[in-house]
Chain length 209, copies 2
Amino acid sequence: MQVAIVLYPGFTALDVIGPYEVLGRLPDTEAVFVAETPGAVRNDLGGLSVGVVARLDDVPAPDVVVVGGGSGQADQMSDGPLHAWLRRVDGPTTWMTSVCTGSLILAAAGLLGGRRATSHWGALDQLAGFGATPVNERVVIDGHYATGAGVSAGIDMALTLAGLLRGDDVARAVQLLIEYAPRPPYGSGSRDTASPEDVEKMFTLFAQG
Amino acid sequence: MQVAIVLYPGFTALDVIGPYEVLGRLPDTEAVFVAETPGAVRNDLGGLSVGVVARLDDVPAPDVVVVGGGSGQADQMSDGPLHAWLRRVDGPTTWMTSVCTGSLILAAAGLLGGRRATSHWGALDQLAGFGATPVNERVVIDGHYATGAGVSAGIDMALTLAGLLRGDDVARAVQLLIEYAPRPPYGSGSRDTASPEDVEKMFTLFAQG
């Protein structure tokens, strides 16, 4: 099985590394970091540089595609090589997936029309503008599209997918391997449980969402 | 504030990217990927190549150090440049931290003698051989040492640390930004909750732990 993990300048690291760590550990699986051009791609914070293993055109029929979000997502909303590749591989793929605002890229490429999908809570409403139905859930599956909520939700999305791809017993073993028994120190992790002060602080500190 | 994230060949990606995503987003913070030699470092699965921003010797007084685990941890247990650097920066650092089997490296470098610490569940017992006290908890803090359990626990460790470094309000805002409201699809994520079948399957599939 081949998993293609899409990189573009300004990607959010955890969006793609969460799914990579889960899907890349599945038996008989090759996970490759792909991008429009060869070289290395820098993340949104600027400190992480990840090597590109293959150009988009070199990966014509991946079994799974993962598109993450990040501040650079805004530059990937116009039609171009990434959108064209996503539409081309959408047929061959078993699963087309996204994390965070990666779903906006899938939607802008025309793949999520009439589909239920999720995204980072701060971007969820934007899905409707592309004909998708925004769903406020951690992981949403509709047809062969699996979308995850913001950043850390990629781990949940990928474990869910691992179960669908290889069976619950394999996915359970991967969850044990990565010791995924989370203990968030706060209850502020979702828009539904965060306080108004949490939301205000977040916007003040990060001016995004 | 400077956060030094240690890379070595065979590191586990999520071990270091979890803390990077949290700590790297704190205001007025520079997170740098450091390694013994310049260039790029490849992970345990082999598909991820991360650029080294600075050599260990170029970072003499980081405020926070993060050491992750991975199959390559076994090659970092002998005294050498990494151990020497860890001992040297242990004084200047505010927090010396680890995720997964990274704590074995800290322990082998002589830093955890008499300290309570955690690690990946499959490696936890090994801490005692270095004079540390193994503690089966997700995040353990003793003095200025913060250790996290396996792989995904780095997110919990880093959010806990973010609260100690910058206050609960800032840490809560970061948790909201990365939408960390986990929904693990299975209950198999810890040795305490996994079934005997989960453990057997994990060892069969991955021959490690």
